[in-house]
Symmetry: C2
Subunit: 339 residues, 2 copies
């Protein structure tokens, strides 16, 4: 089977998105947000059947690890209560998609992060999503400030209370930032990639994975700039007196295949071991058009992976096995389904 580890509900029903706008307006004016709207199953079906489900069928993707729209997480907006309410309804909506299409989607949650608020306060929502909604991971925002980078690095001990619960629940986090308020950055054009690179370098510099040997992170968008500069990172590890990447960081860090052209995918597989690569497309996401050079969708990453001369077992790992290993609760869920 083919598992896409990186899909966001970018096509959520208008009522959901409108409620967020109303929530923001209410916060700005000091009022109470309106009640979250009723959204029918048909409305949900309509938003996924013509989008994710259609494209999954066209591209032969069996299952998408599905989470709320990353750019809409907007942790920088409002306060902790605003983020908590928004995370909760966004995750509940994912749970409904999964409930409607249990063979096609499995959930990953948004966290109620808020600038300056201890990450321990996100533990409750993580537990709720994993233990009650059956989610298999979370998206962790290293910069809830929205492009101002005011939080401590992911390797700082202030994050540990959350990591302890990730380890306890045996769920990975995808490192994923959200929208920006800093005009220097474009969310999907630079901030996402910068965050990926930044997180990798933080991990490279620290002993985090000695403290948490089973903690796992997926760095999306093909690892940001990292594979392209793989020699630089190997050389920096050497210069900084850190252990070689293979055997240290790369025991706990995984890249997805959200790289939207063949040469980039070729490079990724050329330098990063196949055990560290999870198939992903971020469809329907940042880049929705058709590449005039190929006549195919930029984000149809399966075509690029299919074009690689991989062995059967390597291909199976990238498409399925690695995801089952990095998301053990996904593996359990799939085994239960197949019974």
């Amino acid at each position: 089977m083919i598992i896409d580890c990186h899909g966001h509900y970018t096509t959520a029903p208008a009522a959901h998105t409108s409620w967020r706008e109303a929530q923001q307006a209410a916060y700005r004016s000091g009022a109470q947000p309106p009640r979250y709207p009723e959204i029918t199953d048909d409305e949900i079906r309509e938003t996924v059947e013509g989008n994710q489900l259609r494209l999954m069928a066209e591209r032969g993707i069996d299952l998408t690890v599905f989470s709320p729209r990353a750019s809409a997480m907007g942790h920088h907006f409002g306060d902790e209560a605003v983020s908590a309410a928004w995370a909760r309804v966004s995750n509940d909506l994912i749970a409904r998609v999964v409930e409607l299409y249990p063979d096609k989607f499995i959930g990953v949650c948004q966290l109620p992060q808020s600038p300056g608020v201890p990450i321990a306060n996100s533990v409750g929502e993580l537990r709720r999503c994993v233990e009650e909604l059956g989610f298999v991971g979370c998206n962790l925002n290293p910069d809830p400030s929205g492009g101002h980078w005011t939080s401590p690095p992911l390797t700082d001990e202030s994050w540990y209370p959350f990591y302890e619960v990730m380890v306890e629940l045996d769920v990975p986090a995808m490192v994923h930032v959200s929208a920006v308020t800093n005009p220097n950055f474009h969310a999907t054009g630079s901030h996402y990639l910068n965050a990926d690179t930044t997180a990798f370098m933080q991990f490279l510099q620290s002993d985090l994975f000695e403290t948490f040997p089973s903690l796992r992170f997926v760095i999306p968008h093909g690892g940001g700039a990292v594979p392209y500069h793989w020699g630089r990172f190997r050389g920096l590890a050497d210069m900084l007196g850190r252990p070689p990447l293979a055997g240290s960081v790369m025991s706990n860090v995984f890249f997805d295949t959200c790289v939207y052209h063949q040469p980039g995918i070729n490079l990724l597989f050329d330098v990063v071991g196949v055990d560290n690569i999870l198939f992903g497309s971020e469809m329907v996401g940042a880049v929705r058009g058709i590449d005039p050079q190929t006549g195919q969708y930029f984000d149809d990453t399966r075509r690029y992976v299919d074009a690689l001369p991989l062995s059967g077992s390597s291909r199976q790992g990238v498409y399925e096995g690695n995801a089952r290993r990095v998301y053990p609760r996904l593996d359990v869920a799939l085994r239960q389904r197949s019974r």
Copy 2:
């Protein structure tokens, strides 16, 4: 000939570096900085002959476009007067290196940027360096805050007074950040690459080069994450209603070859036209070790470029012609020398 467009004086004499420390200490204590020390020609010779000149000879590099150490620019430190004094002595030191080895180095200047200070205040030092010292370009820091990204994007009109003079003088800028005070970032491991990606996306989003058709930027470190995500950027240009990269941004933006492994260089040349690539190594720089996979220096980028199946004219362009075109004053200087 082979021109390395990206070299910093990372081995500057200890007296120079010590003076900077004294200047910083003086600023912190509200005192006057000490007088800048006498540095002899022999001291300068000693710092380059065993380092840059030795490696240039070993690697067959004829000329290095040489600028002050990027990580030491430290624009975030102190105030405008501190940056002005530091830029001046740093540029003067580069001029002395060039004077000692006119066939081997040509100067590019550091600017006296300081957070919140108008970039117009850097025009005087640019003019001095170009018109009096014979420099051929400058390093422009898009984030003088040191990793807090508090300046407007490079495409904001507040930068225009500086661009007008760049155009008048016909000099390009290398987009180059410096050290960081934001603990999220490692200067050479993430901040440099993030800045490269950030600048490219800013250019992609704007009409800057319609306003300044002859303005030219070199984005170093192989363009940050951009070539690896070339499909993403092509797709984003399309989604944002921007013109195709070739024919718009790529008429004014150039990448160097500071990518420290063969697969990365292969990718760069696979996706970016050879007219947009300038040979560079950033030697002696961020990564100084030997790659155990090759037994060669990570930053010996000539080996990677030599290994490419380029035509003679393409190779000549990357090694020499493109640099002459992007730095016309370098071309003039070389022509005058050869007379």
